[in-house]
Symmetry: C2
Subunit: 365 residues, 2 copies
């Protein structure tokens, strides 16, 4: 996928990837500062989202991320107490996808001009999300940055919100989950996503702006789940489901987990390819169907399936690679925990990821 | 200090403190999620900047902060490779002031539109600062947020930059440094600051804007150190000195450190009062003189000393409380490490902080 092929999102994925790679190269040069000392980074995790660092016998992971432009939805709807779920999901689920059980989170709120009440609502939601996922909020900062922060005009407060989470390698794992132990024939279990999570909002917003104008968030939503979401704003603000408690429970139960992919920016195939090592590929012919709001946006916005699967999770927020004989038990346990899960496909000896979805067959790599 | 007394900085310190206290109250409610588990927060650190969390035998500290509006200076001067020192200083020196030796740092760059070259310069500076302070950069994120980010018009890139640092409690310490062990008669050792660090820029910028107009950064700087800083922009962009290696070296040498205050927003007295427990006070009659640029800004901007000492570090970036008989040795060791340090005063049995400076006597509390 080259920069010139990207739809009208305003961003170049390739430029971003290049800058991230370069930033990581600078970071890597600092690893030797901790050689043989507390905080020494583990080797061989190039390109991973959650870096392993060691303190004595303890093996910790660390992950940083924000919730991007989803915040504009909260500003448009003047409703701030669900964003905490999005904030926790981004880092906690990156950590658990690498085998680290999230334990602590530190958050930074950059605001233009402080609103005590908005910060209170944000923190209430963060508290709720951290109770849900058994994470202690052990650090935080609120910075008033004036005109350095922008957002939806007339909102009580404009802000950006990011966090850094720490986790501890699950005691059953000798190494972080990387997909290195995966084999052809392994089952892929999908966990359903009831929301956009925090990705793909630029494409969604620009499409709705084009169709409905400036007040697109007030437009009646007419997807099959319209009873739940009266407006397009409501449909897009739906909070992230946090998967880390469910995946941690699988590890606690000794399920043979061989890899996990948190589906964020880049969509199903791009994120799943990171767990495919040793030349393996995958065929995913039983993914969850697209989130109704995504499906409806494709229809009314004329967005091709190829594009939608590149920018949105399309209803699948986490993919797990498990030994084939354990797949049914894994699905059962996830279901018992209240998560929607199903066997979505299998690993193949040949490279490349094929998605067989209602819109047709999509091939990657 | 009440909100109505603040000079023209655009911000209310009291409103910010209230929101921070409320955010901390929400955070504290999540501590029990880790009771008896990895990542359990230590008790009794209310109001501390660096929270202690425990993993097995390991006792870690975590601290988050950004570099605020100092970034506008870099944008005005189109020079980005020194901000890394500011970023590291904010969190690393909060950690070491609590007795945690910083080991790892994760950073988040929020940008309007990505500039590969600016990110490269930022990361080069961060690399340099982390080499200086023996910190491994083990996490990072670059987020393109479009119009949610503002800054100096025409800059190659507008951005905000924050980080979360982790540290390990120095092995010589049974508890984090809090000032609880301090006694009347203890010596206060000041470490000189050669820059504003990352605080007080709103007051500085507004003053210069008023005096010199929009292009104030190009105005010739006429302080006594003008040979080093041709323009006011250069004088204000001067990077932070990172104290953590020096304070860690004191702990390594077994110096009887009983408290430490990192002088950031709020100035000398407000930050130093945090280490004064059990009703103690302090008399500081031999602080380093104000940074020349701060002194000059007071003169040309008509800023009273009371205000300046409330918003700026005034040349003193870290204050250490040490047993009186060790004060000279501590100063000697710091000097040998290349830091400017001197005995600045002493603890008193009576509450309140008195600063005896060239501008007169300033009393707090």
């Amino acid at each position: 996928m080259s920069a010139s092929n990207t739809p009208d999102t305003g961003y170049s994925i390739e430029e971003g990837n290049n800058a991230s790679r370069n930033a990581y190269a600078w970071a890597k040069k600092t690893f030797t500062t901790r050689a043989g000392l507390p905080g020494e980074p583990a080797r061989g995790l190039d390109g991973g989202f959650s870096n392993e660092i060691r303190f004595g016998q303890e093996r910790l992971g660390i992950s940083s991320d924000g919730i991007g432009t989803k915040i504009e939805l909260a500003e448009r709807l003047d409703r701030y107490d669900t964003l905490g779920y999005d904030l926790v999901a981004m880092t906690a689920d990156d950590l658990i996808a690498a085998g680290f059980v999230p334990t602590n989170l530190s958050n930074i709120i950059d605001v233009n001009t402080l609103s005590y009440s908005v910060v209170d609502e944000l923190m209430r939601g963060l508290h709720d999300a951290c109770q849900f996922s058994k994470i202690a909020i052990t650090g935080g900062e609120i910075a008033e940055l004036g005109s350095r922060i922008g957002g939806y005009p007339g909102a009580r407060m404009n802000f950006n919100w990011a966090s850094t989470a720490i986790g501890v390698l699950h005691p059953s794992l000798a190494q972080p989950l990387s997909g290195a132990a995966a084999q052809p024939g392994d089952a892929v279990v999908a966990l359903q996503s009831p929301s956009f999570r925090s990705n793909g909002y630029s494409l969604a917003r620009k499409t709705l702006q084009r169709l409905f104008g400036d007040k697109w968030h007030e437009q009646a939503y007419d997807g099959p789940d319209a009873a739940q979401y009266p407006t397009w704003g409501d449909a897009l603000l739906a909070p992230s489901l946090i998967y880390s408690p469910a995946v941690a429970a699988l590890l606690d139960a000794g399920q043979p987990l061989r890899g996990a992919a948190h589906i964020t920016g880049g969509g199903v195939a791009d994120n799943f390819q990171r767990v495919l090592q040793n030349g393996l590929g995958a065929e995913l012919d039983n993914l969850f169907p697209p989130l109704p709001a995504m499906q409806r946006l494709c229809e009314i916005g004329g967005i091709e399936a190829e594009t939608a699967y590149l920018y949105w999770n399309m209803g699948n927020g986490m993919l797990l690679v498990v030994a084939p004989e354990a797949a049914d038990a894994v699905v059962q346990q996830l279901t018992a925990l209240g998560y929607a899960a199903q066997v979505a496909g299998r690993l193949m000896a040949e490279a490349g990821v094929t998605l067989r979805v209602a819109a047709g067959e999509l091939r990657y790599g």
